[in-house]
Assembly symmetry: C2
Homo-oligomer: 662 residues x 2
């Protein structure tokens, strides 16, 4: 607390105490400005704040914004008052990277003066002195005005003081154009600047809207042979035709031999077992090398090129852990934890043991060299052209490491996308998103009931989380074959696909087994696949008539054609009088595109219900009919009013995806 | 963002990056710690925070607290984990003034080790190496241990490494007393300290629990004569008997003559009109002087003494504005605003004019001398023994001025209580409470319906506001005779009294007119009293049979006898199946005292309804009968179950105030 002291002269006192405007409760603002919010290029940032002062003076508030963490030049936009001392303004992020914003506000005596003059005129009070007061304010503006405006402002002041009739002078005093001119030269001596400079991180568009397809390259061969990058190339047109835009490959590095796991995670390897790609490192190299059986770096680059031709981007899996055969284990034992018996600590989560993997010891005294080396793994693959990384288990490495790594990488490459593969406690998942991960895996796979889905996606899209956490919804992964998919048959797969693709603008599938509705777990109660591709080569019959290829293709086309499905801000849930039926809508940011989804959550039985749409909120005139065009069946319904009936047989198709035509 | 750079050696890197624990969302915390929370001496501060780290390591979190803004010595209490990474701890504020608190947390390897050892034992795994790992951790604790513990800890480590049977060693490893011993010497090298030091301001108890009585001293005379402090003395026993503990006097300073207002706020004064006490200052002096007709400083001190004998404290009204006759206007024209015509600007809120008052010009260049002089007004009356001030219109003076003034005064006098008389926009009222005002006037007078009362008091008592805003509820003031009181007759007065006295632990009445149910406004649509005491002497017949003296006395006794009514934290509203009947309960902090109020909000007609009490939440065994003792009528009811019937005739009494006896 500063303040006047008897020894100071007025002129040496801090100006801080003379600032009368308070600016607080700025939104969006994450953890008092500790973290940036996220946008993609071209999106708007809508900023609100409480702005007020003592007394009755009129205020002016402006939103300041600029490029970079510390803009050298600020642009400004005047904010609009809302009820209850809340103010609002907005700006658009124009390019990738950081943008900064803050707020400035001041008591505006000329604005107060005009307001009060108007009231006094209406009450028929004498305003002769008021006009002189106004002239003083105008003269002050003149003293700070640009050359081109000064003359006009001086004439204005002169006229206010003139001997013209009071009414004539008053009417000029209230002229809105002249007011605008005066507002251009405010007295900001005691203006309050919000004490935090807030940041936006702007990504390229793919941060917000992607469809991922995961596959194991080694399974792309034929006749049981180990697949290669060349084999993968043959699959590219097919995956692109289905409408995916990211092709994600599990780790492509050499696989360790020591303690290699056998099929179905057997502790003992059989001859010829190929091991888990996540047990990284062998004599052939580590995180910057390619498993020899997949091909060469040149082959990998060819694959990337081919993918790119088809609009697909390759995402690599970065898993920071080592087989004991990894060169790091030999060259940098200081990066691992040595036990009292002289061995290196393998990974464990008692009572579970992962004998084929050494975790890095981030508490090592040699942590700076460890951090630099791990960051250089990203650098290496970025050099090869990769711009999307799916990061394995980031929650078991320090937050500070990720924050440093991601921010360092982005200095040169703001276009890199990081997907956080953390399935852990909610606050840890949120923190990873705050410190820089572009997208995040979610609990979607385990949210099955209407209440669960509604609560979870409301939290993700309508709380502060929406500012930094971009969900990427996966119905399955190589580690996750949910009970729902195990028991619900083909309708369950279709349902979870539709939910993932329409609830979340980013979604993905672990492709081949999903397309083929593979549902057999290793054992009852397990979410592991039987004969999991994690431990063996599986060659899939993707032409099988049971394939979901057609509906997948259709859904991806619907997503591309409907901007409403390309972001999550416009998601709203709507009541249905049947707990087995869920209904939600998505609007595009400009509200021109509106999708309504109604889905039967029960994969076994038909269900029907009345869905209730808040027409006014959705921009549908309540007294007019509107068309609900089911983009899955191509049927068109004419609806009238908020309540409409749906009936869904999961054995035909478990959902409607309506485009509403107003 | 810090982090390793290639030029730094590991040892010179900031330790910051090695801290793995995150501490965030600390509550209570007002505006990122910018303002203190409030408590009274003896109250608890319950602190919660999100505390978590990467990985699976067990954590320890402690709440640190101490006296003063920057404690020289911290005490600590270990926090308890709640679900979802939330932790909780508490401490008690022991004396008036500032107290600080913050949180420290660290990854606790010994705790993790014990947890994992237990799991491994249960899974029947080999633990021989684990015991050696544990011994290392114990040895580390020994190295930091106090002399008295070191030997025992070293023996523990030695035993873990010994050749004794694994089971014997393991069972000692899991011994809880030994664990406590090790926890006493944690490795806090990478401990995270929350980056803010948060403050509590602790007041004396009267900050939380007061009953105020407002009266005009000049009306205490007899036979139409101007009352004096001596006359006031005669009223003291009566006011004390009614159970009040604060006697609040409108300004006692000399009243200006120039532009003095006449009766009923007439612009022209009649001979003998005594003017408004808020038009402060005349030739007889200003804010540090006493209106000559009231008596001398000695008389004032006698009055204070007499009040004190009866357990009453005098509260003075500090209104920072001047009559044009105030010595300041002559001696310090620089503290006022001079208009272009050479006159001083009087107060106005266009089109309203207050010609008898000059506001201070806080934008004066001479603000430091103005601030110091105004603060010295408080200092002067504090020297005379006054410790409670009701501050007039604080919202028309800068926030920074109040924050400085109050904090400066409190350095020497932490027992001073400031009541903020601001009836303005909600955020401004909240800000005044945050910057230091002890209690605040509220919108209570205008909250009449069940929905209004429920919403408003829920906001005041169950949101963050409860940490800094202490409501003081007034059914009337000399400026506020509500429409409800104007039209509701005696039942309306009784109802509003009961609501004020039971909803808010601080409440007050503008005494004589309230006791006598005076309800005549100056004109229809106005909240001003007819023949308001603000402008004339009114001598009241307080012995009139219509007086509310008896019920006032009873209510104040009930408040004193029931701790539940002495704070607001325990306020909860309960459903009633009639919109005209409101029901709420208050529990004492230790939950031993429980009051349930049921009131008919309609002053004209009888109403009845079923009230529903959440028995479990209120600590009432759901399967047992309990007694509801109406402290107003002394009737006792035996109730059973959550739903009970009440019938309330406002012409008898509009409310029950039940003490529940479990």
């Amino acid at each position: 607390m500063t303040g006047p002291t008897s020894k100071k002269t007025p002129s040496s006192l801090p100006v801080e105490d003379r600032k009368r405007v308070v600016i607080e409760r700025v939104q969006p603002e994450i953890d008092s400005g500790r973290f940036p919010i996220k946008r993609v290029v071209g999106e708007q940032v809508l900023v609100e704040a409480d702005v007020y002062a003592d007394g009755h003076g009129a205020l002016t508030a402006v939103l300041l914004f600029g490029e970079g963490e510390n803009p050298s030049r600020w642009k400004s936009c005047e904010m609009t008052p809302l009820p209850n001392d809340r103010w609002q303004g907005s700006f658009t992020v124009s390019k990738p990277g950081y943008h900064a914003y803050t707020i400035e506000a001041w008591v505006n005596p000329f604005k107060s003066w005009r307001r009060d003059l108007d009231k006094k005129l209406q009450a028929g009070q004498d305003i002769s002195v008021d006009l002189l007061v106004g002239a003083e304010l105008v003269e002050h503006a003149a003293s700070g005005a640009a050359e081109k405006d000064r003359k006009q402002i001086e004439e204005f002041a002169h006229f206010l003081k003139s001997r013209n009739k009071l009414e004539v002078r008053a009417s000029l005093a209230l002229d809105p154009d002249l007011a605008e001119l005066i507002y251009r030269y405010p007295n900001k001596r005691f203006a309050t600047r919000y004490d935090r400079q807030l940041l936006v991180w702007a990504d390229r568009e793919r941060a917000r809207f992607t469809a991922w397809y995961e596959m194991f390259p080694r399974s792309c061969g034929e006749n049981g042979k180990h697949g290669t990058f060349r084999d993968c190339e043959r699959r590219i047109p097919d995956i692109a035709e289905m409408g995916f835009d990211v092709l994600y490959l599990p780790p492509i590095h050499p696989i360790g031999l020591t303690n290699r796991k056998g099929r179905n995670n057997a502790p003992m390897v059989q001859n010829g077992d190929c091991g888990s790609p996540w047990a990284i490192g062998s004599e052939a190299g580590g995180h910057k090398s390619i498993h020899p059986e997949l091909g060469t770096l040149e082959d990998f680059q060819r694959l990337c090129g081919k993918a790119s031709e088809h609009g697909l981007e390759i995402a690599l899996d970065i898993a920071f852990q080592c087989s004991s055969d990894h060169p790091y284990a030999r060259e940098h034992p200081e990066w691992f934890r040595r036990l009292p018996d002289g061995t290196i600590q393998f990974a464990e989560n008692p009572p579970k043991k992962y004998e084929d993997i050494y975790p890095f010891e981030f508490e090592s005294e040699e942590w700076p060299s460890l951090w630099r080396e791990l960051k250089s793994v990203f650098d290496y693959w970025i050099e090869q052209g990769v711009r999307i990384f799916r990061v394995d288990n980031p929650h078991t490495k320090p937050f500070a490491f990720w924050e440093w790594t991601i921010s360092e990488i982005r200095k040169a490459h703001p276009d890199v996308i990081f997907l956080s593969e953390a399935f852990t406690r909610p606050k840890v998942m949120n923190r990873l998103a705050k410190i820089g991960f572009t997208q995040s895996y979610t609990y979607f796979a385990w949210r099955n009931t209407k209440a669960e889905l509604t609560e979870y996606f409301t939290e993700l899209t309508q709380t502060e989380a929406k500012e930094y956490f971009r969900p990427n919804a996966w119905p399955n992964t190589p580690d996750i074959l949910t009970e729902f998919l195990q028991t619900g048959g083909r309708p369950a797969f279709i349902l979870r696909l539709i939910l993932a693709a329409t609830l979340s603008s980013n979604y993905g599938i672990y492709g081949p087994p999903f397309e083929l509705c593979v549902s057999q777990p290793r054992e009852v109660g397990s979410e592991e696949y039987l004969d999991s591709e994690k431990y063996e080569i599986r060659q899939w019959d993707l032409k099988h008539p049971n394939s979901l290829r057609e509906i997948i293709t259709l859904l991806n086309r619907i997503r591309r054609e409907n901007p409403a499905l390309q972001s999550n801000d416009g998601l709203r849930f709507h009541p249905v009088d049947n707990d087995q039926v869920i209904c939600y809508s998505k609007s595009s940011p400009d509200r021109s595109n509106l999708i309504v989804v109604a889905a039967n959550l029960n994969p076994h039985h038909a269900h029907s219900g009345w869905i209730h749409l808040p027409l006014a909120e959705l921009g549908i005139p309540p007294d007019q009919s509107f068309q609900a065009h089911d983009l899955l069946s191509d049927a068109r319904y004419i609806w009238h009013g908020p309540d409409n009936y749906v009936q869904l047989n999961p054995h035909v198709i478990p959902a409607h995806v309506f485009r509403i035509r107003r």
